[in-house]
Amino acid sequence: MRNGLIALTALAVLLTSTLVGQRVAPAANVTEVLIGSVLPLTGNFAALGQQYQWAAQTVEDIVNNDYPDLQVPLGPGKGFPGLGGAPMKMIIRDDQSRGDLARTIVEQLISVNKVHFINGEGTSGTTSLLQPVLESAGIPMACHACASPTLTEKGFKWFWRTGPNDKTMVASVFSFLKEWREHGGPGDLKTIALFTCDNLFCQDNRKVATDLAPKAGYQIVLDLTTKTGATTLASEVQRLQAANPDVLFSVQYPAETVVFENDAKRAGWLPKVIATSNGAYSDETWLQAQKKTNGAAGWLGRDPTAIDLVHQRPSWQKVNQIYKKYSHGLNMGELAMREITGLLWMVDVINRAKSVDPAVLQKTANETNMGPEQLIIDYKGIRFENGQNVLATGVVTQVGWDGEKHTVWPWDLAAKANFKPVFPNPSWQERDSKPKPAS
């Protein structure tokens, strides 16, 4: 009887260890870490997708090559030390900005390519379609630049976001507008108009703004939702002009922002303040083009980092040098910085886990407690609650007459930036008559 029990126990131990052995891939067996990245490289959101692609190539370069002085996760040394030096392979797929295709691609990445971690999709709308697929497959996924709050409010166990969400970032804008008057700003700003496009991202911003504007002491005098891809916004400008808000809160993509600028210029109208949330304000090509016309001078918006101060970080400069190898010489914009920060966190998770087993990765991801010194962006660190990094912060910047962004909120960073906000918003005539930074 006793011998029988011993034999049964030994068998149970043997079976358990075999099963565990199958589930947890030993570090020595991992020859390559596969990260799948589904991105909108063509189609409507291709301009975003290509920045994500350059960010992904940058991180692959950092992991697979030795950058001894680069103080970011996996900067020094080659490959994953926690996995015996295994290299990283980034499998990038284009979903043509189509949610249905993104879903198919993710299914292929899981079942055919057997990826260990999924990154994507870069837009909140499509990412929300992918979340159930990853949840049922039990494979970790992250989207760092997606800002829709709903993504981390559904209780998914396999999704993480290192970047701030729209609530955090839009709240930054309204905190600034509320506190500005106590910090030497104008005291007569009382009304606001919301001017947003019609997709999930814009509408999430609109909802947050609708909630926060009255709390910040602003009366909403007009709430206009416009069509993405509008060929004219002349009548919308007429309505804005008639409503005459002190502040315009605009969430529009670059193409529509250009249409708005042309129509507003023809109407000769601008409010005292233009506050934005992402869209054109985060697009490097739009910002660069504005340097030839002073078009963005005085525009303010939320950013995930104090872009004028972060340049001083040595790690930022080194990562930017690597990024420029892939971006045809363009500097990292804030989108790329968010993406690189998130991807570096992903590789750090894999390295700390010393495994590519999904359950171990999930546990390690949830246990993350990363300090700000390892980041190229000025979040306060990375720590998750329900998949959202609660240490991701937002700042408010304003474009000056030099065409560059300057931090104006929070006040401690604004003091370091030492920039006097442009107010009121310059007229079109003033923009035309002043010297242009790029001319």
């Binding site: 063509t42 939702t225 004219t232 023809r266």
Partner: protein, 290 residues
Amino acid sequence: MTLLVQAVVNGLQMGFLYALVAVGLTIIWGLMEMINFAHGEFLMLGMFGAWWLSATLGLDPLLGMVPIGLAMYGFGVLVYRQLMRRVQRGDPFTQIFATIGLLFLLQNGVVAGFTSDYRFVQDSVLTRLSGAKLQVAGITLGVPLMLAAALALVLFMALYLLIDRTEFGVALQATSEDREAAMLVGIAPQRMFAVAWGLGAALVAVAGAILANFFAVYPQVGLQFTVLAYAIVALGGFGSILGTLLAALLIGVVQSVTVVYLPPAFKDAFVFGSYVLIGLLRPQGLFGRF
């Protein structure tokens, strides 16, 4: 009242830009009855050409539209000879799929060559005039849009004279109406179709060169205009050049006036609603013939 009149004026100004986009489609679809879903991509190529000539050679789009128009004429002929002539013999669905394929080929080709960055034409005559306006009885007229409208009128006039008042135009119409009968009187239909595709591509590319002064240039820019162009040609009446112009103005005004009184979401609903309404009352379009 001023708000309404200003909206009508804004709509008319935009209508002329829409007319520019639709003019090429008037020939290919309206007159020759061939489907071209890549029409917006021809426009996009014109916009990219204008941006590229402006950025690299400093050539103003108003001058650049001449080489762009010539190059795109050749491209249009090439597309007809190498692709559309073959699919023309098949089912109309073949034309749809062939031109949708062409759409993706051109769009993704430009993405591969130029990336999807937004690009902007700057320092051109029309962009330098961007703030210039005329005030008439409290109504604002944008000078750049007025110049674009004048160009649209010139192009329409030239096209109208070409199609309605020349032997070539009559031959084009004859080919469209009865290819066999046209052949009997010595017209070469394949040549007529090739010229029509060349003209259509050249005209929409010239429109693109002008539009590049007003809109961001990026590989996907054509789609929003293609949908409008199809509605305009159908609304105006197939084959009617005057109808296309008036339909474009009507659509511009409907878009503009709708937004003054209703949420912008109704903008396109009313545009296509008016198309449905006219389709019910007058299926051949405003100036079309059965």
